[in-house]
């Protein structure tokens, strides 16, 4: 396998981790906004506790995707950043608002009005940002971004302001919300909270199915190359069957309240969707004018990058494992950023209501 292919694989792996971890953090924002009724406060607290310790680290996967892209495939980065300037800028605004609102909410006054304000900004940005992320990936897949002599010729609107990328945007949103709901069933011991996220997982899972079908239908005209890959390749049928099996198992295990199995299958489902897209688009980074090999940086850069990725992985995966073991072990008690008093936190119990005084 060539160097650039391995690097491209590493990039898709990073994107997959971003979707599985950062994506679920966006999904948490969706459920924050939709939290209703007497349990709303407990639900919001659960989401915040689940995201709090890990979301900064989860976010870095996106940075990794971007730096691999511009180090290993600089012309592709230049073309994407030019053609998709507008949705990328909007994505950044969403990322900034969401990240800062989440932290501001944690450290601002606990008055309901103040918390509510930051919650709105956090959750609305959590909804808009994944839609934009999906739109961006959808336009890259669509084959509508054209390049001549290194100059983007398809304009600044047409490639992304189209039915297919927008459908992919909502598909991404549904997937992230679904993933978050599935993960959240394992973040609490409270049966009622588990039930409400189980119900949400089932509903959003259905939405994922419907949007997947929509995206597939729109891809006929919206992304013909990817559509051809997903229907005619020798791997297409097995891929669809396995993805469908994972989807069915997710539903079944949610129904049976086998949440660990559900989490595994939901994550596998999303991974296969991403890899299916990547395979269908192969060998293009930006269909139809930029391929992995045409955009690849020279071998010395790729070798250096691969070495860094390998060493980085050796250091990072144990660190990540440690982080998740600390905070995502079996139904962990509530994680809190420390107050100045060493005694209060130890007295807090796992019930999220306890630290949400009205």
């Amino acid at each position: 396998m060539s160097l650039e292919l391995i690097v491209a694989g590493a990039m898709i792996v990073s994107l997959t981790f971003y979707a599985l971890l950062g994506g679920a953090d966006y999904g948490g924002g969706v459920w924050d906004l939709l939290a209703r009724g007497p349990k709303a406060k407990a639900e919001r607290a659960l989401i915040a506790d689940a995201i709090g310790p890990v979301w900064e680290a989860n976010h870095v996967w996106l940075i990794l995707v971007v730096v691999i892209l511009f180090t290993a495939f600089p012309p592709a980065f230049a073309v994407i950043a030019t053609a998709l300037h507008i949705p990328l800028t909007l994505l950044l605004i969403g990322i900034v608002l969401r990240g800062s609102a989440f932290t501001f909410r944690t450290y601002d006054a606990e008055r309901d009005s103040v918390q509510q304000r930051w919650s709105y900004i956090f959750s609305i940005a959590s909804i808009i940002t994944p839609v934009l992320l999906g739109i961006i990936l959808g336009s890259i897949a669509s084959g509508q971004i054209t390049v001549e002599n290194g100059v983007v010729t398809s304009g600044f609107l047409r490639p992304w302001l189209a039915p297919f990328p927008i459908a992919v945007g909502f598909f991404a949103l549904a997937l992230f919300a679904f993933l978050a709901a599935v993960y959240l069933t394992l973040e609490t011991r409270d049966f009622d909270l588990q039930e409400s996220f189980r119900r949400r997982a089932l509903i959003s899972g259905t939405a994922v199915g419907a949007l997947a079908l929509t995206v597939f239908l729109l891809s006929g005209t919206g992304a013909p190359k990817v559509r051809a890959g997903l229907s005619a390749s020798p791997w297409a049928l097995p891929l669809h069957i396995i993805t469908a099996l994972f989807a069915i198992t997710t539903f079944w295990s949610l129904w049976k309240r086998a949440y660990k199995l559900a989490r595994l299958c939901a994550a596998a489902q999303l991974t296969l969707i991403l890899w299916g897209w990547a395979l269908a688009q192969f060998p293009f980074i930006v269909e139809p004018d930029i391929t992995i090999s045409s955009a690849a940086a020279p071998p010395p850069t790729l070798r250096f990058l691969l070495a860094a990725l390998a060493i980085g992985a050796l250091l990072l995966f144990p660190s990540f494992y440690y982080l998740f073991r600390i905070f995502k072990g079996d139904t962990p008690p509530t994680a809190l950023p420390e107050t100045s008093d060493p005694t209060t936190s130890s007295t807090l119990n796992a019930n999220a209501d306890a630290h949400q005084p009205r």
């Binding site: 890990v54 994505l91 990240g99 450290y107 850069t301």
Partner: protein, 448 residues
């Protein structure tokens, strides 16, 4: 506003905003780790309270630094796609390495902030140390990429395209060492002085042991850095003299090429008349500082084509501001060191504390001024001598819109951050509380 000017303004504004958080992200973890270390050694609760207080501030500032840094990594392509398309293979590496440092920082900051009750004390301290180290490394990698723009190496140009790319040689470019040293020390000095200024203000209540310890730690870190900074400044000046003579000429207001050039203090460069007026000149000073030889010849701006000159006024003023503030901080550090040497105790005289309060923003302003020198001083080039900034800009029209949008967004964030930090400062522990650290109402609420 032309699109090029809008793009430059957006980049400048984004960097100016991010750099404050980046500098604090480098130095603040060191302060909190030192305090936690003293807690583990002495078991004095005050140190624990202090580490936790500083950790809160770090959490807020880190979050904003992380998102504004994300914006920058995209803006490289959004605003300068031709630069990234051309140079990505050469200087992408330090950014990739920065990605890993950032990963480490984010993982262990999560453990540090949320793990007080979850991990053993030593592991917790170690997590903090890893945050401090990886924070410094992040900054170093990004500055290496910037140093390459000032002194590009590790490639050859054939037919307008880079060939024979050597990313290691690019990282080991001639400006890398001096710039990374200068910036890293600046981060500790600026943050140390900013934190000292805040605690000096809170030490109006002179015997409060909490703020005394806080001030001692912050001032030690900031003071040592401020004393070291002139050395790295000297290294930087000589590297600039060697690699970017036009920048040196601009920052010194040196229009004529001359042997034994004077050092100018103050003065207004006049590009039309080709001279810097109203400056105090120290004979042969510039030749000595730039080349360590009083008779060395310093190239003036006249040696360069007119369209290769940076904006001399901005560069000269920014440079003077940076040096002046650095000197003030160094002088204050010496004053503090002398006071400590005389009395073996933290100097807490009224005028010393007032000076510290006054100098709280000095380091950050010096950092902004220093980056103005670096960036404006490199113009009209985005890659010194290789690619002009105007050649790198995106063809996207209407760039004034994102410029204004991000400016408003960042003003909003700045206001909120200041407000939240003031809340933290206002919740300062009083003397009685520091003995037995009672939670006060607004301190114990900490959850979303």
């Amino acid at each position: 506003m032309s699109d090029l000017l809008a793009a430059r303004s957006q980049m400048a504004m984004s960097l100016a905003f991010h750099i404050v958080f980046a500098a604090i992200g480098i130095a603040m973890p060191l302060l909190m780790v030192v305090s936690e270390f003293f807690y583990l050694r002495t078991r004095e609760e005050i140190y624990l309270t202090l580490a936790k207080r500083w950790a809160k501030g770090t959490a807020i500032l880190f979050a904003v630094g992380a998102v504004s840094g994300t914006v920058l990594s995209f803006e490289l392509g959004l605003l300068w796609p031709r630069f990234m398309g051309w140079a990505g293979a050469i200087i992408g590496m330090p950014f990739s390495l920065e990605g890993f440092a950032f990963f480490t920082e984010a993982i262990f900051l999560g453990i540090y902030l949320y793990g007080w009750q979850r991990v053993p004390p030593r592991a917790h301290l170690l997590a903090g140390v890893l945050v401090a180290v990886s924070g410094a490394l992040s900054g170093i990698f990004v500055v290496i990429a910037n140093a390459w723009m000032n002194s590009p190496t590790g490639f050859e140009i054939v037919g307008g395209q880079p060939v024979n790319i050597d990313p290691v040689a690019a990282m080991l470019n001639p400006m890398a060492l001096s710039q990374t040293l200068h910036m890293t020390i600046a981060a500790y000095a600026a943050t140390g002085f900013a934190v000292s200024g805040i605690h000096a203000y809170l030490l109006r209540d002179r015997t409060n042991p909490f703020h005394r310890r806080a001030l001692a730690i912050a001032l030690t870190v900031g003071g040592i850095a401020a004393l070291l900074q002139p050395l790295s400044g000297d290294l930087s000046a000589r590297a600039v003299a060697l690699n970017q003579p036009a920048k040196l000429a601009a920052l010194e207001g040196q229009f004529k090429t001359e042997a034994g050039a004077p050092l100018r203090i103050g003065g207004i460069p006049d590009e039309e008349r080709g001279e810097t007026r109203y400056a105090i000149e120290i004979p042969r000073g510039l030749s000595f500082l730039a080349f360590h030889d009083t008779r060395a010849t310093v190239k003036g701006l006249e040696a360069f084509p007119r369209d290769h000159w940076p904006n001399t006024r901005i560069v000269h003023f920014a440079f003077q501001a940076m040096v002046a503030l650095g000197m003030l901080m160094m002088g204050t550090a010496l004053w503090g060191a002398y006071g400590w040497w005389r009395r073996r105790a933290l100097p807490d005289g009224k005028w010393f504390l007032r000076t510290l309060m006054l100098l709280a923003p000095a380091g950050m302003i010096a950092i902004e001024a220093g980056w103005t020198v670096t960036e404006v001083g490199r113009q009209p080039w985005i890659i010194q001598g290789v690619m002009r900034t105007s050649e790198a800009v995106t063809p996207m029209p209407g760039l004034v819109v994102p410029f204004i949008t991000f400016t408003l967004l960042y003003i909003f964030l700045a206001v909120i951050v200041v407000w939240l930090l003031l809340r933290q400062v206002a919740a300062s522990p009083r003397i009685a509380e520091t003995e037995k650290i009672e939670p006060r109402e607004e301190e114990s609420r900490f959850v979303a």
